[in-house]
Symmetry: C2
Subunit: 158 residues, 2 copies
């Protein structure tokens, strides 16, 4: 339920690799090698991240990518936005035309509240945390049970 797309997941891995890199700048190819994600895919993602202003690029020979801001200043929400756009939980909020369904909008509005809560939580998570650059373990006792529960059910539909 509520999956983030694989590409978005990849993007966080790529950004995390950049954040952890000892040298600030890396080429798409070296990031691909480091992360083991297919090179064309890495390129594609870096371009998107560049357009979104999360990475800076240098063209030409000896070019490459680097983080446009500090790892603490890039939020999970920003990454999601870059890759998936500021999409809402429900379709209704973006396309209003087909809202023929009775009671739908009322329900939809309720989803927006949940959506806002999610968004806020995502804004509080930084790339530094995702990259494990903060000495704190990301896995907390509280969350283990949750993870286990989720792992129980295999197979992935939305």
């Amino acid at each position: 339920m509520l999956r983030i797309s694989r590409l978005t997941d990849y993007a966080t891995v790529i950004l995390a690799a950049l954040a952890r890199s000892p040298v600030p700048q890396m080429t798409a190819a070296s990031l691909a090698a480091r992360t083991r994600i297919a090179p064309p895919t890495v390129s594609k993602l870096l371009k998107q991240l560049h357009r979104a202003g999360l990475v800076a690029s240098t063209r030409g020979l000896h070019g490459g990518y680097q983080l446009a801001k500090g790892a603490d200043d890039i939020s999970a929400a920003a990454i999601l936005d870059a890759l998936e756009g500021p999409l809402a939980l429900t379709e209704c909020s973006s396309r209003e035309s087909q809202c023929d369904i009775e009671g739908h909008c009322r329900v939809s509005r309720a989803w927006q509240g949940v959506n806002g809560a999610i968004r806020r939580s995502l804004q509080d998570v930084t790339l530094a945390q995702l990259a494990g650059l903060e000495n704190e373990p990301t896995r907390l006792p509280v969350l283990e049970q949750e993870v286990k529960f989720i792992a129980t059910r295999t197979r992935g539909a939305s």
Copy 2:
């Protein structure tokens, strides 16, 4: 970003219609008429909701569906689970085989924290709220605080 599927959205609309109905029992056809969702789709969803134990059914002539529990006792999380399964934010948690990607699991684990926060927030939203049966705004301070709290813990130190 983070969309729920259209069918899940429909399901909430159907459940909300049931919750708001003056008579406790309604047929799939009448729910379809009421919500303007295509009848076969309504049937399909009601079957799924029935299997998940969210609605009770009566077969045969004068049959139909009704809520299996009070609208206060059905959470948004339960509806999501019924329709989409308790899936994780990232693919990694279900399929471990392909985790060839360096640093991926570390990142994935961080996502699980966010996932947990989302899950908890969904558990606090009831069908009664979704149906607009409670005069309460759906965006609750309590919920926000909860999410923020969890995000903080995920972050650890900082």
